[in-house]
């Protein structure tokens, strides 16, 4: 077949007759344009499956054992999409999807759709899927979160030989417009429960009514338990989520590699102390926040509204960042301050642009490439 294959790409009248493999190829009639469709014209004839994870023969449901002594394996070893010089000319995907492991997915919104570029997490258990946060853009054609999540869920169901799996959508903060905008795309989705946005209703949804700041609740996905830890401080209705399978802590705006804007410093310290205690009693691999704003330069962050961030910090923070944040947050309670640390910056009672081009004298002085402002 190899010698003749060139002829199929030459558009002459003879080649159609000379080619040994013309009309006998199955016409790509049923190709629906989706990823991994065996009917796609670039697949060889007779292709039945392009995804080695999907079964060729019908088998029973796979039940996964989510109990493990060590954190479940998984990695984020790649580079996030980070915008472009000219935002209008950006050609990256609108949502970057990364499989941390087979049951854990990390999604990022393209910074050229919204500068907040929030991260969204999708976790699967034997009986349910959980979506943490929903992005900063409501329009489905700009930010197709629903379509993307549906595709991941459908593939996961295929891998696990399930017909469907119910989805629960929760938020690290109901009031944060960088995280709650995409929820409307799921309004009419079957087998889906959405968290309310309003504080009281949201705490009730999580079973945290009454003195909710002290409570802990569990979300059981079927063998995989996600724990809900109230952490107000950057939002008055802040929640953090701890996944006992991967040992990841999802903190949203509370602690991430960026300029953390403290909304109430007493609550902030109390929440971090709660997480610090949690860390002592539970295995913790990484802290995953809702954004990345730091550069790969100690103590430097991209300013707000940046749509081009070529030297971004990685998403994950080591658990020790909690200790560091507690220590420095205690020192600024009650006073306006900007605390520059290697991996994050704390802003208390100051404008979000305070000292945006500065860093701390105790951190290594590394010049920022292509930065025009006073350094």
């Amino acid at each position: 077949m190899a010698p003749a294959s060139n002829a199929t790409f030459v558009e002459t009248s003879q080649s159609t007759a000379a080619s040994p493999c013309p009309a006998s190829w199955p016409a790509p009639k049923e190709y629906d344009g989706s990823d991994g469709d065996p009917n796609a014209p670039y697949n060889p004839p007779g292709a039945r499956n392009t995804d080695s994870c999907l079964p060729l023969k019908p088998t029973g449901e796979v039940v996964h054992d989510y109990t493990a002594k060590e954190p479940a394996p998984g990695d984020l070893a790649f580079r996030w999409i980070h915008g472009s010089v000219c935002a209008a000319k950006n050609t990256d995907p609108r949502i970057q999807v990364v499989a941390y492991n087979e049951d854990t997915y990390v999604l990022r919104e393209n910074p050229c759709v919204n500068w907040e570029a929030p991260f969204t997490y999708l976790l699967f258990g034997n009986h349910g899927a959980l979506l943490i946060d929903t992005g900063a853009t409501p329009e489905a054609d700009h930010y197709p979160l629903r379509v993307t999540v549906d595709k991941i869920v459908a593939r996961w169901c295929g891998v696990r030989r399930k017909k469907s799996v119910p989805l629960t959508i929760i938020l690290t903060s109901g009031e944060d417009v960088a995280q709650n905008q995409g929820i409307g795309q799921f309004a009419d989705r079957a087998q889906t429960s959405l968290t309310p946005l309003e504080l009281g209703a949201r705490m009730e949804f999580h079973g945290l009514s009454g003195s909710w700041k002290q409570g802990i609740q569990r979300i059981d996905l079927g063998g995989r338990v996600v724990e809900v830890i109230p952490t107000p401080g950057t939002h008055k209705d802040g929640l953090s989520f701890y996944d006992s399978y991967t040992c990841l802590l999802f903190t949203g705006d509370l602690l991430y590699a960026g300029r953390v804007q403290i909304a109430n410093d007493r609550d902030y310290v109390a929440s971090l102390e709660r997480l610090q205690k949690w860390k002592q009693n539970h295995r913790m691999k990484w802290v995953l926040g809702g954004h990345v704003e730091m550069m790969f330069i100690p103590g430097r962050a991209y300013p707000r509204f940046s749509t081009n961030r070529p030297f971004e910090h990685v998403l994950q923070l080591e658990p020790e960042a909690i200790d560091e944040a507690v220590e420095h947050a205690r020192g600024v309670v009650g006073k306006p301050a900007v605390v520059f640390r290697t991996d994050f910056i704390l802003l208390n009672r100051v404008s979000p642009d305070e000292k945006v081009y500065q860093s701390a004298p105790d951190l290594p002085r590394v010049p920022v490439p292509y930065w025009r402002s006073l350094q």
């Binding site: 000219c86 000319k89 050229c112 759709v113 853009t137 700009h142 509204f305 404008s351 642009d353 500065q358």
Partner: protein, 348 residues
């Protein structure tokens, strides 16, 4: 000033002040060559010099609404550069906010012999942002309409001040014939206009019947000019004064520039004061630095009263801080330390 054109190499040519170049000689020397290149012959009638003096100020119009970005930059389908023919000899352009958040305004003034382009925007690559293409098309359109050869019209590319959101687009003009561009140092800037006493000296640039008055206007940065077009009577104050946050780096210099502008207003009529950006809404709401969507932004042009009122407000300012005049923010030596924006989610 008599010039020996035979000894004129690129370096000496560029070092000459624009105002003193005797251009008709150059035009005569290049005319046969232009014909040989196959340029269309000049129309016999109607190609006489345009009169820029008797009907001043020439009326003109700004767009109802400038293009002002979109909620998702990737989904912006507006033109990369909005072109506004203020009148048939004056163009104001604006960079699309989805291409650069600075969204600077660019000016193009046509005269009988020369064309002045003030500012070149914030994007270097023509493949990202086709400034050269748009400017060339404007010039070609004007030349056809007024019976000129493009090759005979010299383009002068200058900028208001030494900040990259106003000059990096100059990269796109480096290979353009019959074009002179301002150098990017203070000495080259004032040398371009032949100034010897910056900022007090006011020079006149003759575009061929159309005079542009230029003088020093420091305060936002040290190297900055004000431009006054004697045809439309439009005063261009750059980033020193515009509808938004006037970041004043040097208060004393800025206030002296303000006084100079007031003295200028005493003996020159001004229709509009225009600046390089808009950062404020119609209701006086501040759009934060860096934002790429300003759905309800205020018009770019301002009346003379706005400038005069700001001067009255400025007289009382003695300390660093942010002062709102009702139309513009005067940010006195506050850049990098204070902004107008507040914490969005603060609670007790």
């Amino acid at each position: 000033m008599p010039l020996d054109f035979k000894s004129l190499n690129r370096r000496t040519f560029l070092s000459l002040p624009v105002v003193s170049v005797v251009l008709p000689a150059v035009a005569a020397a290049t005319a046969p060559e232009a014909k040989a290149m196959g340029a269309p012959p000049l129309p016999a009638v109607g190609s006489g010099p345009i009169d820029f003096k008797t009907n001043a100020p020439a009326p003109g119009s700004f767009p109802e609404r400038w293009i002002c970005g979109s909620s998702s930059c990737m989904d912006n389908h507006d033109p990369p550069i909005q072109v506004n023919w203020y009148n048939e000899h004056t163009v104001f352009m604006r960079q699309n906010k989805a291409y650069s958040f600075e969204a600077p305004f660019l000016h193009l003034y046509f005269g009988n012999e020369r064309i002045l382009l003030i500012d070149q925007g914030y994007t270097q690559l023509e493949t990202d942002w086709p400034l050269r293409d748009v400017v060339d098309r404007c010039i070609a359109e004007w030349c056809v309409k007024h019976g000129r050869h493009v090759e005979e019209m010299e383009l002068l590319a200058s900028f208001t001040h030494l900040h990259d959101d106003h000059y990096v687009g100059i990269n796109q003009f480096y290979d353009r014939p019959n074009t002179r561009y301002m150098g990017q140092t203070h000495e080259e800037m004032i040398g371009f206009w032949g100034m010897t006493n910056y900022p007090e000296e006011r020079v006149t640039l003759d575009l061929g019947g159309r005079d542009i008055l230029i003088w020093g206007n420091p305060g936002h940065v040290f190297s900055e000019f004000a431009y006054y077009d004697s045809y439309t009577h439009i005063l261009h104050t750059g980033d020193m004064f515009y509808r938004g946050r006037c970041y004043i780096s040097f208060w004393d210099k800025w206030f002296a520039s303000m006084k100079r502008l007031m003295a200028f207003l005493d003996d020159h009529p001004v229709t509009y004061v225009v600046g390089c950006h808009v950062e404020i809404s119609r209701t006086g709401h501040d759009y934060p630095y860096g934002i790429t969507y300003q759905p309800d932004e205020a018009p770019m042009h301002m009346s003379v009263e706005v400038l005069k009122h700001a001067y009255e407000v400025a007289k009382a300012i003695t300390k660093p801080g942010i002062y709102f005049t009702g139309s513009v923010f005067l940010c006195n030596e506050t850049r990098d330390s204070t902004t107008i924006d507040r914490i969005a989610y603060e609670y007790e």
